[in-house]
C-alpha cells in the first residue's frame, strides 16, 4: 500500500490516513483479540485456584523486598495485616524497620552461667510467632539448647532433647545455639533467588514472600539455624504477638524458610532481644559492636570468646565464652 499524503485541510492524522479502519480489518482485529483473551483466561486459570489457597494475585506478583518503593511496601504491609486478621483473627501491626546508621549487632553468651532451662527457646516462640501445636511445642524455635559433657566441646555427642527433673545436671554444661548471623553467611550464598541476604547491621534476613522454599539455605547452614514451614503456621489468637516486622516475626506463609533475626523489630528500636530479656542467669549479652562503650564490646575486649565451628569460615557475630 502506498503511503497517502494527507491533503491540506484534512484533519486526519498520518496514522489514520495511512491505515484506514475498514470493516474487514476491524473484524480481523477483534477475532484475534478474542482468541488472545481466551488464551489468557486459560493461562490465568491456575491463579484462580491459588486464590482459594490464600495466595492472592497481589502476593504472587509482589516484587523483591529490596526493589519495593515505599508506596508499594506500604500497600503490601496493609495487605499482610488484613490477611493475618482474616486468617488468625488478630490485627497485627506489621512494620518495616530499617537498620540504624552506625549500628552492627553482636551477641555473646556466657556458657559458664547457662543452666539449660530453655526459657530462651520458649520466649523465642512467644516473640516471633512461630507455628506451634501447643504451649509445649518448641520445634520451630530458633534456639536449640545443647547439653554437652564437661571437658570438651563435642557437638556430635550433644543432646538437645534432654529432659531431666532439674538442670543443670552434674557433669554437663549447656550451649544454646541459634543463628550466628555470619559475616560470611553460607545460606545467603546458596539461595537461588536471593530471598535471603545480610543487612547493613549484620542481621541475615529472609523475604518470606520471595522465598521459594527450596531449603538450600538449610542445607548450607552449619548451625541448624533455619526452620521450614512444612504446613501453614498453627497459631492460636492468644499466642500471636501483634508487634511484627516485615523481615522478622510476621506470621510466615506455608512453604518458606524462617530464622532468627536477633528480634530485629525489637533491636532496631533499641530494645534487647526476647531471649536475653528472659534469661534467668543473665548469660546473654547483646549490643552494638560499633559503640566502644557497649556491653558487647566489653566482652570482646575482656573475655576469651570463641565462635562456633570457626573452621568453616563463617565468621559469626555470635560469641561464646566461659566466665563466672
Amino acid at each position: 500500500m502506498n503511503p497517502v499524503e494527507p491533503a491540506d485541510g484534512d484533519s486526519r492524522t498520518v496514522e489514520q490516513a495511512c491505515s484506514p479502519l475498514t470493516r474487514r480489518t476491524f473484524l480481523k482485529g477483534s477475532a484475534a483479540s478474542a482468541v488472545g483473551l481466551a488464551a489468557m483466561a486459560a493461562a490465568l486459570r491456575p491463579l484462580l485456584a491459588l486464590e482459594k489457597e490464600n495466595l492472592t494475585l497481589d502476593a504472587l506478583l509482589q516484587r523483591h523486598y529490596r526493589e519495593l518503593t515505599p508506596d508499594q511496601l506500604g500497600r503490601i504491609l496493609d495487605r499482610l495485616e488484613g490477611e493475618c486478621e482474616r486468617t488468625y483473627g488478630v490485627h497485627p501491626e506489621i512494620r518495616d524497620i530499617r537498620p540504624r546508621d552506625g549500628t552492627e549487632f553482636a551477641y555473646a553468651l556466657n556458657l559458664g552461667r547457662c543452666i539449660g532451662c530453655r526459657k530462651c527457646a520458649h520466649a523465642c516462640l512467644r516473640e516471633n510467632n512461630q507455628s506451634r501445636d501447643s504451649d509445649e511445642d518448641i520445634n520451630m524455635s530458633y534456639i536449640r539448647v545443647l547439653e554437652l559433657e564437661k571437658g570438651g566441646i563435642d557437638l556430635e555427642t550433644s543432646d538437645h532433647y534432654y529432659d531431666p527433673g532439674t538442670v543443670p545436671r552434674p557433669g554437663k554444661y549447656y550451649m544454646p545455639v541459634q543463628c550466628q548471623q555470619c559475616r560470611e553467611a553460607p545460606c545467603t550464598k546458596v539461595c537461588p533467588v536471593r530471598a535471603t541476604w545480610k543487612e547493613p547491621d549484620g542481621v541475615v534476613v529472609v523475604d518470606y514472600n520471595w522465598c521459594i522454599g527450596c531449603r538450600y539455605c538449610m542445607a548450607a547452614c552449619p548451625y541448624d539455624a533455619r526452620r521450614f514451614n512444612y504446613s501453614k503456621p498453627k497459631l492460636a489468637a492468644k499466642h500471636i504477638n501483634p508487634d511484627q516486622g516485615y523481615l522478622s516475626n510476621r506470621i510466615r506463609p506455608k512453604g518458606v524458610v524462617e530464622k532468627c533475626t536477633f528480634c530485629l523489630h525489637r533491636t532496631r528500636e533499641g530494645k534487647y532481644p526476647a531471649c536475653l530479656e528472659v534469661c534467668p542467669t543473665g548469660a546473654r549479652v547483646f549490643g552494638n559492636i560499633r559503640d566502644p562503650d557497649s556491653e558487647i564490646n566489653y566482652i570482646l575486649q575482656n573475655k576469651r570468646v570463641y565462635v562456633l565451628k570457626e573452621d568453616v569460615g563463617t565468621r559469626p557475630r555470635f560469641y561464646y565464652f566461659f566466665d563466672k
Binding site: 532451662c117 520466649a123 533499641g270 542467669t281 556491653e295
Partner: protein, 218 residues
C-alpha cells in the same frame, strides 16, 4: 522448689487477708463475752505486693521475673517495713552460733568460707551491712557489700555483663534496668538453684534417628 515457696507465700498471704477479713467483718458478740475472749489482733493494712518492674511493660508475653523469691524479700514485697533492731537491741551480736537459732530458722548459711553472720551484717545496727572499716552500708546498697569480696564480678556487673539487663540496649531510645545481686542470688546460699527445664523439642518426623537412640549412644 520455687513453686513450693510461692504457694506457701501465697497461702500465708491469703491467710493474713482472711484473718483481717474475719477481724473486720465478724461482729463482736457483746461487751462481756468480748472482754473474756482473747482480744482480736490489730488489723494491719498492707499494700498489695509489688515488685519493682523489670523490663518493658509492653513485653507481657515474656516471663522476666527475677529468679529469686525468698521469704524475707516477700515480706518486704508485701509492704512490711520491719526494724531488725526491735529484737536485736536486746540480743547481742555473736560471731558464731553452734546451735540453730530460734528465729531465722529458714536461713542456712552455705556461702563458702564466708560463714559468720557479722561478716556481712553490722554488729550494732542490724538494719545495715558492714563495710571493711566497720562503717555501715545501707540495705539498698547491697551491691557494695557483695563487691567487698566479689570485685571482679562487681566490675563486670558495672559494665553490664554480669546480671541481666532489661529494656533498651540503646539508652538514647529508652531506659534499662539491671538486676541487683540479691534479686538472683540468695546471699545466704548464693549458688544458683537448680531449675525444672521447660519442655524439650519433640522428635521431628523428618530427622533420621529418634532421639532415644541418639541418647543411648552416649
Amino acid at each position: 522448689m520455687r513453686n513450693d515457696r510461692r504457694t506457701t507465700d501465697a497461702t500465708g498471704r491469703s491467710g493474713l487477708v482472711f484473718l483481717a477479713l474475719i477481724a473486720s467483718v465478724l461482729p463482736l458478740p457483746g461487751g462481756e463475752s468480748a472482754a473474756t475472749a482473747t482480744p482480736a489482733l490489730p488489723v494491719v493494712t498492707k499494700p498489695t505486693p509489688t515488685q519493682p518492674a523489670v523490663g518493658l511493660p509492653t513485653d507481657r508475653h515474656l516471663d522476666k521475673e527475677p529468679p529469686r523469691a525468698t521469704h524475707g524479700l516477700d515480706l518486704v514485697k508485701m509492704g512490711w517495713t520491719y526494724n531488725c533492731m526491735d529484737c536485736h537491741r536486746l540480743l547481742e551480736a555473736k560471731w558464731h552460733r553452734d546451735a540453730p537459732m530460734v528465729e531465722h530458722q529458714n536461713i542456712r548459711l552455705i556461702h563458702g568460707e564466708n560463714r559468720f553472720c557479722l561478716n556481712c551484717h553490722h554488729p550494732t545496727n542490724r538494719n545495715a551491712f558492714v563495710d571493711y572499716d566497720g562503717s555501715e552500708i545501707a540495705e539498698s546498697d547491697v551491691v557494695r557489700l557483695c563487691a567487698k569480696c566479689h570485685g571482679t564480678t562487681f566490675r563486670d556487673w558495672q559494665a553490664g555483663v554480669h546480671g541481666r539487663r532489661n529494656g533498651y540496649w540503646d539508652t538514647a531510645s529508652g531506659s534499662r534496668s539491671q538486676l541487683r545481686c540479691i534479686q538472683c542470688h540468695d546471699p545466704h546460699a548464693p549458688k544458683f538453684p537448680v531449675m525444672k527445664p521447660l519442655a524439650p523439642p519433640t522428635y521431628p518426623a523428618r530427622a533420621a534417628h529418634p532421639p532415644t537412640e541418639g541418647r543411648a549412644q552416649h
